[in-house]
């Protein structure tokens, strides 16, 4: 089974849940798809690490062949090409690597080159295999890295997803069996929970919510779940001890039997939810 842990809002405890869920599942692959700020490795401290580059294809022009017909400029829906001073300019940061400009060029004046945009690091931590995506600074989209991360993976898999509800999240959940949404007890948390919820409804994926940092105060995220009939998988009450373990880069499941039981139960609930 493939599980994606999502949040809508950053800082709700997505990595906390993903890391502990993977540790509780024991034999599984933990994939950090939060490629703009991957931090799961801080907890797993992987050994036997290996890394490889992720590249995308970017067009370049053969000036001798280009006649300036501008078919490519007109074709590019991302406006990554401009023709000025009798020369074609390619804006690499805007290019989405669709390859369309090569197809429409009647002179075969365009070719593609590989441009590195990030890397994938693999390693191990006890019985958990790790796969982490890391986007280079200044790059505009992590989608190709997430695509590469999720190729050739063996179940069971826990994916630490990117925050938000945009393209990177869609790429992450495309082939998963179940999504866990981590929500914090704030109005802002509720707002962004609703955004991911809407996205998941569109995808028709089964999902449930983990309420993090709960107290006896009002919880707008919990109210939202009740209104929308969203299953609440688990509540993690605000706990200074858990905060301390986390701040020291320790995995609660591996340090504390209470959390081990809690996350094992969560994993079982997800297995049932993912099958239905």
């Amino acid at each position: 089974m493939k599980v994606a842990v999502l949040s809508g809002k950053g800082g709700t405890g997505k990595t906390l849940v993903a890391v502990n869920l993977a540790a509780a599942a024991e034999k599984c692959t933990y994939i950090d798809a939060d490629v703009e700020a991957p931090n799961g490795y801080l907890f797993f401290k992987p050994t036997e690490t290996q890394s490889r580059n992720v590249t995308v294809k970017i067009p370049y022009v053969d000036d001798l062949k280009c006649t300036g017909c501008r078919k490519c400029v007109e074709f590019c829906k991302f406006n990554a090409l401009a023709y000025i001073h009798n020369r074609l300019m390619v804006f690499e940061d805007i290019c989405h690597s669709c390859g369309g400009c090569l197809l429409v060029c009647p002179e075969n004046a365009l070719n593609e080159k590989e441009k590195p945009i990030g890397e994938i690091v693999t390693g191990n931590s006890q019985s958990v295999s790790l796969k982490l995506g890391k986007m280079n600074l200044g790059e505009s989209t992590g989608v190709p890295i997430i695509k590469a991360l999720l190729e050739d993976i063996q179940d069971p898999v826990v994916i630490d997803g990117p925050p938000g509800s945009a393209c990177t999240v869609m790429e992450t959940i495309k082939n998963v069996d179940y999504c866990v949404l981590v929500a914090e007890p704030t109005e802002f948390g509720k707002h962004n929970l609703a955004m991911v919820h809407e996205l998941l409804k569109g995808y028709g994926k089964p999902f449930g919510v983990v309420l993090n940092k709960t107290t006896d105060q009002d919880n707008p995220s919990k109210e939202y779940c009740t209104e929308e009939n969203i299953p609440i998988l688990m509540e993690i009450p605000y706990d200074e001890k858990l905060g301390r373990l986390n701040s020291e880069g320790l995995i609660a499941v591996r340090e504390d039997v209470h959390y081990k039981t809690l996350f094992e139960q969560l994993y079982q609930k997800i297995e049932i939810g993912g099958r239905s």
Binding site: V73, F78, N79, A82, I84, H85, F91, I94, A166, C167
Partner: protein, 122 residues
């Protein structure tokens, strides 16, 4: 000489648009004939890369100068190598800015912002 200005309306008495690439119209003004043409800016509704497209549009009007309150990096990366001169507008009126430019009172656009790409993710 022809100059381009991002504008809010198709009206010489109207206002300069605070955004270059996302302006609804461009006014192209000929300093010799004193004639102004207004063109819709098809880049304004682009989901992305509006800066590149808008710059290509004004270059294709064969202007040599752009007057604008601000400009993003992608637009400048097209316009500057094309030899287009960039001047910073002052105040909001189109007419005042044309007069100020012709009197040599507008300053060169010094600051280029990073742009607002990929908001909302992609």
């Amino acid at each position: 000489m022809k100059i381009a200005i991002p504008v809010e309306d198709k009206h010489y008495e109207g206002n300069v648009c605070p955004s270059f690439a996302r302006a609804p119209f461009f006014m192209v003004y000929d300093t010799e004939t004193k004639e102004a043409e207004f063109h819709e800016n098809s880049a304004s509704t682009s989901p992305g890369g509006a800066g590149v497209k808008a710059a290509q549009i004004v270059i294709d009007y064969k202007v040599t100068t752009v007057l604008t309150p601000r400009m993003g990096k992608n637009s400048a990366d097209v316009l500057v190598p094309a030899g287009i001169q960039l001047f910073k507008t002052e105040g909001t009126g189109i007419k005042n800015n044309i007069e100020a430019f012709e009197a040599g009172k507008l300053k060169t656009l010094g600051e280029i912002h990073e742009g607002f790409h990929h908001h909302g993710g992609n």
